[in-house]
């Protein structure tokens, strides 16, 4: 029971295996997730950079085209005013993105203009021309996108490209081209980085030039973190769970900003990886638990049964029978050894018992063979005395009794004799002793006749009667009496020998049962008791009840043993 309260081998093994696997899994998990996350972050940044680079290339292309177109128209204007209208019309046909072409003088007066649709007669405002000073460096300028303000009932978004030139007539004019912005806008709108990432265009100062959701920005539904972009950072950086990548364009003052979401490009992937890993680990751990349990069971189960078998063996050594348990080789070997041991121990025990019985028998036989010399001498003396008095009849009786006594004592070497014989033996002995003690006591037998055919150990009654005469009646003044009873008691047969002699103390009673017989005494009471116990077990044997000056009763109990 104590063992159970401690850790059993089975659960300990399971626990160890499981925790080892668990620990290993956790370590792998964290290492893997960390590595994966880093890799994904790198990936996300690379993705963003690639998308931005593509958008940048497209926008650069677009501006390059615009510049080429500008040069085309500019060269027409360089020939001087009035401009060749058919050439302009032909070029506009070739470049459908051009909405308005015009030229202005130093004061900003519109000298000439061609529009795709109907030109407004009195435009409310002219958003295409920003003023002479802006273009004074002679370079090509690209404006921010704005709505076309010069065409009737049409408001397309355009960028104005302007340059100050000198015509062939040495006139200084500004050529302005309004080119539709929708091409770039569409391209930028369609740039996707992941599911929600996007690109937009800002100028050097971080002002938004074009944003796919600029309507939402202007209506205040959304905000863009332009402060971050104008802070002068370049390249890639991560802020507020967004990856930003800034790419300045080399042929304009614009830069492309790519925005992607770490949540979507990194976190979501990492999360699904975590899910998969957890799933795998759960399977691994469950497998480990099952394997651990199975493994430990294959070892612990046979060991437990071995332990139980040993306990059983402790309790019931004699009748224990052991079957070899199945299991691993080691356990089988252990089990086989135990089985061998059990067999050996039982054999040894059996041997010891047999040897003990043999020893007792030998001893008994030696004792039986031994004739108490005093008894024989006294009896023979009495017989001789009877002969001298010519009481031949009595002498013959005595000799007969003595002969019977010896014959039954020997009984052809059998240990068990019929109770009838035992009774005769006791009667012969009592007859001789009664004669010798000159009828100082009387005796009687009270024997159930149904008992006579059962067997009993020979010379069971005689030592007890002897004891009753020598220690009980011998020292009495009054006439003594000995009563021998034999009766059935259930499955047992009970013998009692009662005398009304001086009796014994309780100490004497127990001492008698322990005393080894001396030389004088024949077969002692102890010997009788030992023999019965050897033959029939501890349940049976001899008990003594005695009271001083009242008498002694010796009770012998033994099982019914049928004769052959």
């Amino acid at each position: 029971m104590k063992l159970k309260k401690r850790y059993s081998f089975s659960s300990l093994a399971t626990l160890l295996i499981t925790s080892a696997v668990l620990l290993f899994s956790i370590v792998i998990f964290f290492v893997f997730v960390t590595l994966y996350q880093k890799e994904m972050e790198k990936n996300a940044i690379v993705n963003t950079e690639q998308a931005v680079a593509q958008a940048g290339a497209a926008v650069t292309n677009y501006t390059e085209e615009m510049l080429t177109t500008m040069r085309l128209f500019r060269d027409v204007y360089k020939n001087g005013l009035p401009v060749d209208g058919s050439k302009i019309a032909a070029y506009m046909e070739l470049n459908p993105a051009v909405v308005v072409v015009g030229c202005y003088d130093r004061e900003g007066n519109l000298l000439d203009s061609v529009a795709k649709g109907k030109r407004k007669e009195n435009p409310l405002k002219d958003l295409s021309y920003l003023g002479w000073d802006v273009y004074s460096d002679g370079q090509i300028h690209i404006s921010k996108p704005h709505t076309e303000s010069l065409v009737e009932n049409e408001y397309p978004w355009v960028v104005s490209i302007a340059q100050n030139i000198k015509t062939a007539q040495n006139q200084e004019i500004t050529v302005v081209l309004d080119i539709q912005f929708s091409g770039v806008a569409k391209y930028i709108d369609n740039v996707g980085i992941g599911q929600h990432g996007y690109c937009f265009i800002t100028d050097d100062a971080g002002n938004i030039v074009y944003h796919p959701q600029q309507q939402l920005l202007y209506s205040g539904v959304k905000q863009e973190n332009t402060a971050l972009i104008s802070s002068g950072k370049k390249g890639s950086f991560v802020q507020e769970q967004k990856i930003y990548h800034l790419l300045p364009l080399n042929n304009s003052h614009w830069q492309i900003v790519g925005v992607s979401y770490t949540e979507e490009l990194v976190t979501a992937n990492v999360r699904s990886l975590i899910f998969v890993l957890l799933l795998l680990f759960a399977i691994v751990i469950v497998t480990a638990v099952v394997c651990g349990t199975l493994l430990s069971r294959t070892i612990s189960k046979p060991i437990n049964s071995l332990i139980n078998a040993m306990r059983e063996f402790e309790k019931n050594t004699e009748n224990f029978s052991y079957k070899v348990t199945r299991g691993s080789n080691e356990v089988m070997a252990l089990s086989e050894s135990f089985a061998q041991m059990v067999k050996r121990i039982q054999e040894l025990m059996e041997k010891v018992r047999n040897e003990e019985i043999t020893l007792r028998k030998t001893e008994l036989k030696a004792l039986q063979a031994q004739i108490n010399p005093h008894f024989l001498y006294n009896t023979l003396d009495a017989i001789s005395w009877l002969c001298e008095e010519e009481r031949n009849k009595d002498a013959a009786q005595m000799v007969n009794a003595l002969a019977k006594l010896f014959r039954i004592s020997i009984s052809k070497g059998h240990e068990l004799i019929p109770i009838q014989k035992e009774v005769e033996h006791a009667k012969s002995y009592l007859m001789i002793e009664n004669f010798r003690y000159k009828n100082q006591f009387t005796y009687r037998f009270d024997v159930q006749s149904s008992c006579l055919s059962y067997l009993c150990n020979k010379i069971t009654l005689q030592p007890i009667i002897e004891n009753a005469i020598y220690h009980g009646l011998n020292r009495m003044v009054d006439e003594g009496e000995i009563v021998v009873r034999i009766f059935e008691d259930g499955e047992d047969i009970v013998f009692t020998v009662e005398d009304n002699g001086v009796g014994m103390t309780a100490e004497q009673c127990t001492a008698i049962l322990k005393k080894e017989p001396g030389d004088k005494a024949g077969i002692g009471i102890k010997n009788v008791n030992d023999r019965i116990k050897i033959y029939f077990g501890d349940k049976y044997g001899l008990t003594i009840d005695s009271a001083l000056d009242e008498g002694t009763r010796v009770t012998i109990r033994m099982p019914k043993v049928e004769g052959e």
């Binding site: 806008a185 309507q215 939402l216």
Partner: protein
């Protein structure tokens, strides 16, 4: 010990189950959810901007956006059919701009009973099933129109209102906002309202008739894109550019041209792109089971005059980049 082991096994199995379920749901990419946007019509610039906004949000939130509407802005029957069709074809959210406050209610309730979530934009419907309303604060837009109408120097004002269908909720709210605001001005002598069918021709002929019957009218107000165009054309026909102060709605390019040339003096411009975008964004929240922050979202309206129409911010509002 046995029982402990059994409990251990139980925990293991439970863990396994949880992980499997979680793993599956984690790896599972859901099918595209569908949102039906049903508007009053599909051909005006206003509704085109709504569509552009809805599509932008649709691609951002990975939703299928179906955009439909009847041909005329009076056809509530077709609208009801479209609502039923959308509900049957498995739309999870219907974004509706109701033509008729009451007559669209039954179809909306039917759809809601089928488990469709209802979001209303621009103009409301008489139903408890509506989870969120997104649009212009019509009363406030009416007041903005009044503010523009009153920004003149005349000492006596005779106001004419050309409104559309009486059963449409937003038109009535705008008129109420307008009327409540001009009541406070002592210069207002009279207010006359006509209701016309929401089309350019009807509005134009109605306006001409109104101006002929009431020549004293010097301030004219109208409340949507089509009636604005009708009023503008009427003013152009009657050549009343300079004598009549006209306040109109929304940013049709033709109306903008009239703003430049003087037929129209001020425009109350709504934000249809934001409406479309926010409606689909709200639909996405509803589909994902998230809370929606408010059950009414006002997108606001901007007052545009000849003076500010080319300001960069106003450009963004007036001229959506197509």
């Amino acid at each position: 010990m046995r029982r402990k082991q059994r409990i251990l096994y139980g925990i293991c199995l439970l863990l396994l189950l949880v992980f499997v379920v979680a793993g599956c749901s984690g790896m599972h990419t859901p099918a595209k959810h569908s949102v039906a946007v049903i508007t009053k019509s599909t051909n005006s610039d206003f509704w085109k901007a709504v569509q552009a906004g809805a599509n932008a949000a649709g691609s951002e939130y990975n939703l299928d956006v179906i955009f439909e509407g009847p041909d005329t802005e009076e056809d509530y029957k077709t609208q009801n059919d479209l609502i039923r069709k959308a509900a049957l074809s498995g739309a999870e959210v219907i974004v509706l701009s109701a033509i008729d406050f009451n007559k669209n209610a039954a179809a909306v309730n039917e759809a809601a009973a089928m488990g469709v979530k209802i979001v209303v934009i621009d103009s409301n419907v008489n139903s408890d099933a509506v989870l969120c309303r997104i649009g212009t604060d019509d009363y406030e837009a009416g007041q903005k129109a009044a503010q523009a109408a009153l920004a003149c120097t005349e000492s006596k004002l005779h106001v004419g209102i050309v409104n559309f269908d009486k059963n449409t909720e937003n038109g009535q709210s705008r008129e109420k906002g307008f009327r409540d605001a001009i009541k406070k001005d002592a210069r207002v002598e009279s207010v006359t309202t006509i209701n016309v069918v929401s089309s350019i021709e009807n509005a134009q002929s109605g306006t001409i008739k109104l101006l002929q019957e009431h020549p004293e009218i010097n301030v004219l107000v109208t409340f949507n894109e089509w009636t604005s165009l009708g009023v503008g054309w009427a003013v152009r026909t009657l050549k009343l550019n300079d004598t009549l102060r006209v306040v109109a709605f929304d940013s049709n390019p033709v109306t903008l041209g009239m703003l430049e040339t003087g037929e129209v003096d001020a425009l109350v411009v709504q934000k249809p792109y934001a409406m479309g975008y926010l409606s689909v964004e709200t639909a996405s929240r509803l589909i994902l089971g998230h809370n929606i922050p408010e059950d009414t979202i006002y997108t606001g309206a901007t007052l545009v005059t000849r003076e500010n129409m080319y300001d960069p911010e106003i450009q963004q509002v007036l001229f959506p980049l197509q």
